[in-house]
């Protein structure tokens, strides 16, 4: 395996990991602050992608499309928080799983009803298309590089928001002791809506950014949702830092496993068997990783026990 191919796959893994982080950040915040498992997070990702594809189709502007994805997902997030989610905070996880599963059905079928069953396409803007040559002679698509940079900027912004701003202090206080911050006069239900909408907006942005590489269709959020859960469980639920580490770990393991395992098996097997076994083991790898992490550390890498 050449260095160039290896580097390219590492970048792909990084890009995948960064997108997973945008998804996982919202999930882990919502769990950390409100104690809620939200299966419908993948639907917000889908809503972001559809809003972006729709606006891009109308206006032709990619920047407007991204803004639309943020706005639509945040609005949808705020709406479902106000109508449904806030009734679930005091329920057990079983009720939360079922209610948000119901939300998936409603949002997926609703989107299919509005946009039809055919996938939409969101084009990479011309100024971000084409390859770019990186130091070391690596040819890499400019758009994917832009996603990595954008994701890192958003991640940095999120860390700054949580660590440095007043809202961030309230969010952290909410994770530590929700009765206490309510007693200190902070409108806790407004804070919850805000956190939920923030997480939704991040998921929507991820949906729009990935939507330009893949097709935009109903059900696109579910595989990513499961991966985002794997990420936050590996990282420790509630920890943003854990989500970042988990996301990069999952992104790189999945991408590199899919590339390296078939080659590894080809060393001592015939090529076709090596490809099938390698590929199927490769797609199981992150779940194996998650199981191993949980067996060694039952509440994730950065989770509090």
């Amino acid at each position: 395996m050449t260095f160039l191919l290896f580097a390219e796959q590492m970048l792909n893994g990084l890009q995948f990991g960064i997108m997973l982080f945008l998804m996982a950040a919202g999930l882990t915040l919502v769990f950390g602050v409100m104690g809620l498992i939200n299966l419908a997070h993948g639907s917000l990702y889908m809503i972001g992608a559809f809003a972006a594809a729709w606006v891009a189709g109308l206006t032709g502007s990619f920047v407007l499309a991204l803004m639309a994805s943020l706005a639509a997902a945040a609005a949808a997030g705020a709406l479902i928080e106000l109508t449904v989610i806030r009734r679930l905070y005091k329920r057990d996880h079983l009720d939360q799983v079922l209610a948000t599963f119901a939300l998936i059905l409603i949002l997926s079928e609703g989107t299919r009803w509005v946009f039809g069953s055919f996938p939409l396409y969101l084009d990479v803007p011309s100024y971000l298309s084409g390859p770019v040559t990186l130091p070391g002679g690596i040819q890499y698509p400019l758009y994917r590089l832009a996603i990595i940079v954008a994701g890192l900027v958003v991640a940095g912004g999120l860390f700054a928001l949580i660590a440095r701003t007043r809202i961030g202090i309230q969010i952290r206080a909410g994770e530590a002791d929700r009765e206490m911050i309510a007693a200190l006069g902070i409108d806790i239900s407004r804070l919850y809506t805000l956190v939920f909408a923030l997480g939704a907006a991040l998921a929507g942005l991820a949906g729009a950014l990935v939507g330009a590489i893949q097709s935009v269709q109903v059900g696109m959020g579910e595989p990513v949702l499961i991966l985002a859960f794997v990420v936050i469980v590996i990282g420790g639920i509630g920890s943003i830092k854990g989500a970042l580490v988990g996301a990069l770990l999952v992104g790189l393991t999945d991408t590199m496993g899919g590339v390296l395992l078939p080659r590894f098996f080809a060393l001592f097997m015939d090529p076709s068997a090596a490809t099938t076994i390698g590929a199927s083991l490769g797609s199981m790898l992150i779940y194996i990783l998650m199981a191993v992490v949980l067996i060694v550390r039952p509440s994730g890498l950065y989770g509090s026990a």
Binding site: A99, V230, S280, Y287, L294
Partner: protein
């Protein structure tokens, strides 16, 4: 006598009546629909032992459903082309006999549940939900990538497997067989709940520390419950595969886990007849709403939401009051 006892008696009566009613309509699709309800209810009865009695929120019961299905698929596909599964070290032939297939399905899903349980029961709460989900997904991707039995496309079995003394190709005979199996599973699960094991398991759900103080290890109780639960769901998987004469990786998908969980919650977690009522209602809604609108899942979603938000304890919980509710 609680209200649930009366409801259960009425439901038992109904359950006996359904096969006769279905047979009297003489319509093949009603027979198939009723068989489907019985088999999916059986999967729910399995999950209810872990979820209702043990309080173990398994989001990966599709793993056992799928293993049961694939046990049937593997045995029957080898039998239909007379190609042994293994010739060394011992000769293993495929089979078309349901009792043998069921036994293999239950033993293999019980073994899988033992393995998954030993690893997963170290965690609790959300982590348990997620690790069981992960094991289900692991098997899902494994079957997609495993070309021997159809891979992603799945595998068809041309003729339904046989049961001694019955002609399972006649829909009503397979229907009655499924209801008898469901009835036995319900009887077993009622006995289990009242046995000392079931009482200890319930106590471990309500307060694990107290159970430990009196010298019972909650881990072992839960593991046994998880294994029994997996075996019953595995049996349902084998029968479901036989109903459709088709297996595919979808049996392992997290949607399947979600649906089995919905049956239990819709009917009432921890209620004997919860999964039966839930599965019947789900299939009925799917059938009725599916005829009205292509987007029937919107209505299903709204209904589920209403059950969670307003009818806590599911249908049976709403009818019978909350005295034995999940807690």
């Amino acid at each position: 006598m609680t209200r649930e006892t009366y409801i259960n008696a009425a439901l038992t009566f109904l359950l006996v009546l359904v096969p006769f009613w279905a047979w009297s309509t003489g319509q093949a699709y009603i027979l198939t629909l009723c068989t489907k309800v019985a088999i999916l209810a059986l999967a729910g009865v399995g999950l209810n032992i872990a979820l209702g009695l043990g309080g173990l929120v398994s989001f990966g019961h599709a793993a056992f459903f799928g293993i049961g299905g694939y046990a049937m698929g593997i045995l029957a596909s080898h039998a239909q082309v007379f190609d042994p599964i293994a010739e060394w070290p011992i000769l293993i032939e495929g089979t078309k006999s349901m009792p043998v297939i069921w036994l293999v399905a239950m033993v293999s899903s019980a073994l899988a549940a033992l393995l998954i349980g030993v690893l997963s029961l170290r965690t609790s709460g959300v982590y348990f939900i997620m690790i069981t989900l992960a094991f289900g997904q692991m098997l899902y991707y494994f079957t997609i990538g495993w070309p021997a039995y159809g891979g992603e496309d799945g595998l068809s079995i041309y003729v339904r497997n046989s049961f001694p003394g019955l002609n399972t190709l006649v829909p009503v005979q397979f229907l009655i067989l499924s209801y008898v199996v469901l009835g036995l599973a319900l009887w077993f699960s009622a006995r289990l709940a009242r046995s000392s094991f079931g009482l200890a398991l319930t106590a471990a759900r309500q307060n694990a520390d107290r159970v430990e103080t009196v010298g019972i290890a909650p881990f072992r109780l839960r593991l046994v419950a998880f294994v029994i639960s997996g075996a019953i769901t595995g049996l349902a998987g084998a029968m479901f595969a036989d109903l459709n004469r088709f297996i595919s990786p979808t049996m392992f998908s997290w949607h399947t886990s979600g649906e089995i969980m919905i049956f239990v919650i819709l009917g009432g977690v921890g209620r004997l007849y919860g999964p039966v009522v839930g599965a019947a209602l789900y299939i009925l809604l799917e059938h009725l709403l599916g005829g009205v609108s292509d987007y029937w899942q919107i209505f299903l979603g709204l209904l589920l939401l209403a059950v969670v938000l307003f009818a806590r304890g599911g249908l049976i919980g709403t009818l019978a009051g909350r005295e034995v509710a999940h807690g």
